[in-house]
């Protein structure tokens, strides 16, 4: 919490409705964990042919460990079998705790510390994504099947927020191009619109009409097909935490962070440039392209330099690079485009 005020009490200190509603289910999960833990230990005991009588003390330890496992499993799941890539190999990673406690995700509150708290009972499974618009055939795909569309890769990318700070994040995901190929867009598809889940029950921040929910973002087709663009499903070797956009979010490393739509439920192929949520909210501040560009100033924040999260109190600022340092891979897409107008 940075600032304490009356209004801050509302979202964070009162038990969120979702927590209240879901507590039964939560207790069931925890109970299941205890059961699973007990069973595992019991079978171990059998295997070791240890006498069946155990002291009460051991029993309670067992329950405690079962409980903590259940909680851990609920929040952190390892992803196995992803390939390392050379992207960002020379970058110093931002700490896991910083990446997962400092989030702009208004669906879970406007303070950056709020998403980590308010997204605890968000349910990223089961999850399906619907493919709509200018495609051969509208269809849906489960998150499990998206995992299987292409081998998962680790991509270490810089992320530059429009607010003037940046991180280095080891994402795990698949190239968006693979998903597009599977979706089979037709010749009319010039742009893609990404739509985040709209569910006030699970996303308490949507009770405030700050943005025109659901959150939407968009890319031009060639941007979406660029090898750098990924659909991220994990970070730091684990499934995406809820506050980072579970179960699947967009990552476009040469654009400002807000382009990365989270918890995507809909991918719509369209002919005309979509109007995104932030374009509606502030057309003079947020454009469709939102490419990282130190030459184009934002009315609120310095865009020529940035603060790297985790660098320490006295590290100062670093120079922001054109296209966030990815000019070589993406620069040619914008040849001839006035980036000052198309910010």
């Amino acid at each position: 919490m940075i600032i304490q005020t009356k209004s801050d009490i509302l979202p964070s200190e009162i038990t969120p409705k979702t927590v209240f509603d879901n507590r039964r289910e939560f207790l069931q999960k925890a109970g299941f964990g205890i059961l699973a833990g007990s069973t595992a230990l019991l079978s171990n005991q059998l295997a070791a042919a240890v006498a069946s009588t155990k002291s009460l003390d051991n029993e309670s330890k067992l329950i405690a460990s079962g409980q903590s496992n259940a909680l851990k499993f609920a929040s952190r799941q390892k992803i196995t079998g992803y390939a390392k890539t050379p992207y960002g190999a020379d970058e110093k990673l931002t700490a896991y705790d910083d990446i997962t406690t400092y989030n702009n995700y208004y669906e879970f509150g406007t303070d950056k510390s709020e998403p980590a708290i308010n997204s605890k009972l968000f349910k990223p499974h089961p999850w399906t994504v619907s493919i709509e618009g200018e495609v051969k055939k509208a269809k849906t795909i489960s998150i499990e099947d998206i995992y299987k569309l292409a081998p998962l890769e680790e991509r270490i990318y810089r992320m530059r927020c429009v607010e003037g700070w940046s991180m280095v994040i080891p994402w795990i995901g698949l190239p968006l191009a693979k998903l597009i190929k599977w979706a089979e867009p037709n010749a009319n598809a010039k742009y893609i619109e990404f739509v985040t889940l709209a569910d006030k029950q699970q996303m308490p921040g949507q009770n405030l009409q700050l943005l025109d929910w659901p959150y939407t973002e968009g890319l031009r087709m060639d941007e979406a097909m660029n090898p750098l663009t990924i659909m991220a499903v994990g970070l730091y070797g684990e499934q995406l935490p809820n506050q980072n956009g579970a179960p699947m979010r967009l990552v476009v490393p040469w654009k400002y962070g807000f382009k990365g739509a989270k918890a995507i439920v809909k991918i719509r192929f369209v002919e005309k440039m979509p109007i995104t949520a932030w374009m509606k909210a502030g057309p003079s501040e947020y454009g469709f392209y939102a490419n990282v560009n130190p030459q184009v100033e934002h009315p609120r924040w310095t865009q020529s330099s940035e603060k790297r999260i985790g660098a320490g109190l006295f590290a100062g600022r670093i120079k922001t690079q054109m296209f966030n340092g990815y000019t070589e891979q993406v620069g040619q897409m914008y040849a001839g485009l006035d980036l000052r107008k198309n910010f």
Partner: protein, 216 residues
């Protein structure tokens, strides 16, 4: 009419209240040190310190501006003796706010700072507010009050403008969720509204209006 039969605190009691408020005003700073020692200043400690000191400067400013309306409404006047201390604490937090910005945020890169001021109205307004606060802090001594007399009162009316600028500075910081700056803007409206109301309705004006300048 109201003020006459109220209990008026003794000098000693006032001193205790002053000491208490003084300690209270140091709590936000102590909290920052405490969080710092715990390595608990969030992922973006500079931003947290900037926001926190900025918030407390505004909060204390509004507290300062509430002392006269309290007199107007209740007839009590002793709390006006806290006004200088609160005003100086507002300046104290504004100074830390500015130093953190110039030092930790921009590493004394004056070129970048100048650009930031020119290109971002939010920063410009913040700077303007700080510059307005300077003469108020510098003329807060008894001797300056005596020397400036009536002009001191006129000069210190700048505090109203300062409060407006501070809230605009905060308002332009937030992207979309304006609830917090809106709340402080409403508080300021109420505080200034009370003054205006009592200024124009002469009949309800409390008698024996304390001078407020030469008294302390």
């Amino acid at each position: 009419m109201l003020a006459s039969n109220r209990h008026v605190p003794t000098k000693k009691q006032i001193n205790w209240v002053k000491a208490f408020v003084f300690m209270l005003c140091l709590v936000p700073l102590m909290r920052l040190f405490w969080l710092g020692f715990q390595d608990n200043l969030s992922a973006n400690p500079i931003e947290l310190i900037e926001r926190s000191t900025g918030f407390w400067a505004l909060f204390i400013l509004l507290a300062t501006l509430s002392l006269t309306p309290i007199r107007l409404v209740t007839g009590r006047a002793w709390q006006l003796q806290l006004r200088r201390m609160l005003g100086l604490f507002m300046f104290f937090y504004a100074c830390i706010h500015l130093v953190i910005y110039v030092w930790l945020d921009f590493s004394f890169d004056w070129n970048a700072i100048c650009k930031d001021i020119v290109k971002h109205p939010r920063i410009l307004v913040g700077f303007a507010a700080f510059i307005l606060a300077l003469p108020l802090a510098l003329t807060s001594t008894n001797s300056m009050m005596r020397r400036l007399r009536e002009r001191w009162r006129q000069l210190h009316q700048l505090v109203y403008l300062l409060a407006v600028l501070a809230i605009v500075h905060f308002w332009w910081l937030v992207k979309k969720d304006i609830r917090e700056p809106l709340f402080y803007a409403l508080v300021l409206c109420v505080l200034l509204g009370l003054r205006i109301h009592y200024h124009f309705s002469k009949t309800t004006k409390p008698t024996g209006k304390p001078n407020g300048i030469s008294k302390f």
